[in-house]
C-alpha cells in the first residue's frame, strides 16, 4: 500500500493521461496514485479513463483550477 505522486501541473492533454497510464503500470495492486492536474480537460479525461479501467477514483479540488485525482489500483 504505497502512495505515489505524479505532477502534471501546467501540462495539457493528452500528456497527463499518458503519464498516468505509464505510471500506473509500474504500481502494484493496492497502491494509490495521486495526480496533480490544473487542466480542466484532464480533470475529466483522467478520471474517466481510470474508471473504465475499473480503478477507484476520487477527485479533490485542492485550489482554484487545481485538482488532485486519486487513483487506487484495484487490479
Amino acid at each position: 500500500m504505497a502512495e505515489f505522486n505524479l505532477d502534471c501541473l501546467g501540462e495539457a492533454c493528452p500528456i497527463p493521461l499518458m503519464k498516468c497510464e505509464k505510471k500506473i503500470a509500474e504500481l502494484s495492486v493496492g497502491d494509490v496514485l495521486i495526480v496533480a492536474i490544473d487542466h480542466s480537460c484532464a480533470m475529466k479525461n483522467v478520471p474517466d479513463w481510470a474508471r473504465t479501467q475499473g480503478y477507484n477514483v476520487e477527485i479533490d479540488e485542492v485550489d482554484d483550477g487545481e485538482w488532485e485525482v486519486i487513483i487506487e489500483k484495484t487490479k
Binding site: 492533454c13 493528452p14 500528456i15 493496492g30 479525461n45 474517466d48 485550489d63 482554484d64 483550477g65
Partner: protein, 228 residues
C-alpha cells in the same frame, strides 16, 4: 493486502488546504464588460455583436463540456477511447440536418442567394496534405484552433505561444497558397453531395455513414479498452 474498507473509499493523508477564493465576482465584472463591449460593437454594425454572442456561446460550451475536436481524433490512438469521437459524430449529424434544411430551403424557395455551395471546398492535394499537417500539429500542440482559443481563455501560457505560431503559420500558408498550392487546386473538384446523390440520397447516405462510424467507434473502444 488492502483492507476491506478501503475498497470503497481511498484513505490517504491529506495536505492542509489553502482557503479557496470565489472567482464569481470577477466573472460578474467581466460579464458586464463583455455586454458593454457588445453595445460598443453595435455602433459599427449590427452583425458584430451577433458574432460576439456566437463566439461567447461556442467558447462557453467548449469549456463547460470539455468538448475537444483534437481528442476525438487523437484519443483512439492514445488510450483507445472513442467517447469524444462519438460526441463529434453526434454534433455533425445534428448540424447536417439543420444545414440540409437551410440549403434545401434556399433552393426550393428560389431565394436570392442559392446556398448550396456554401462551405463546399475543393478536393485536391492541398486538402489532403493540409489535413495531415493539421492533424500532426494539433496533437503536438494539445489543441486545434478552437481548442487553443478556449485554453487561452482558461489561462494556458503554452497555448498563447501556440496561438502566436498558429498565426505565423497561417500567414506563411496564405503566402504559399498563392504561390504554390493554388495551382494544384485549379482542377480540384468541389463536390456537393446532393449534386451527385440527390437531396434525399445525400442525407440518407450521410447519416448512414455517421451511424456506421459510430458503430465502428464503439467496436474500436471495446477492442482497445475492453469496455465502453
Amino acid at each position: 493486502m488492502p483492507d476491506q474498507e478501503q475498497k470503497t473509499s481511498i484513505s490517504r493523508t491529506r495536505a492542509p488546504r489553502k482557503p479557496k477564493k470565489s472567482q464569481i465576482p470577477y466573472a460578474l465584472v467581466i460579464t458586464v464588460l463583455v455586454i458593454g463591449f457588445g453595445f460598443y460593437l453595435s455602433g459599427f454594425s449590427l452583425k458584430l455583436p451577433i458574432y460576439l454572442a456566437f463566439g461567447l456561446l461556442f467558447g462557453y460550451t467548449l469549456q463547460r463540456s470539455r468538448f475537444c475536436f483534437t481528442a476525438a481524433f487523437r484519443d483512439p490512438f492514445i488510450t483507445g477511447s472513442t467517447t469524444v469521437t462519438r460526441a463529434v459524430l453526434v454534433a455533425i449529424s445534428l448540424a447536417s440536418v439543420g444545414f440540409f434544411a437551410i440549403k434545401l430551403n434556399s433552393v426550393l424557395n428560389g431565394s436570392e442567394t442559392n446556398l448550396s455551395m456554401a462551405g463546399v471546398n475543393p478536393i485536391g492535394i492541398p486538402l489532403i496534405l493540409g489535413a495531415i499537417l493539421f492533424g500532426i500539429g494539433m496533437v503536438i500542440a494539445g489543441g486545434c484552433a478552437s481548442g487553443t482559443l478556449m485554453r487561452v481563455g482558461e489561462g494556458f501560457t503554452m497555448q498563447i505561444v501556440s496561438l502566436f505560431f498558429f498565426v505565423i503559420g497561417s500567414l506563411w500558408g496564405a503566402h504559399d497558397m498563392g504561390t504554390i498550392w493554388s495551382t494544384l487546386n485549379e482542377s480540384a473538384p468541389k463536390i456537393f453531395l446532393p449534386n451527385i446523390l440527390g437531396w434525399f440520397g445525400a442525407i440518407v447516405v450521410q447519416l448512414l455513414i455517421i451511424v456506421l462510424l459510430y458503430i465502428a467507434a464503439i467496436k474500436w473502444q471495446q477492442k482497445k479498452m475492453g469496455s465502453e
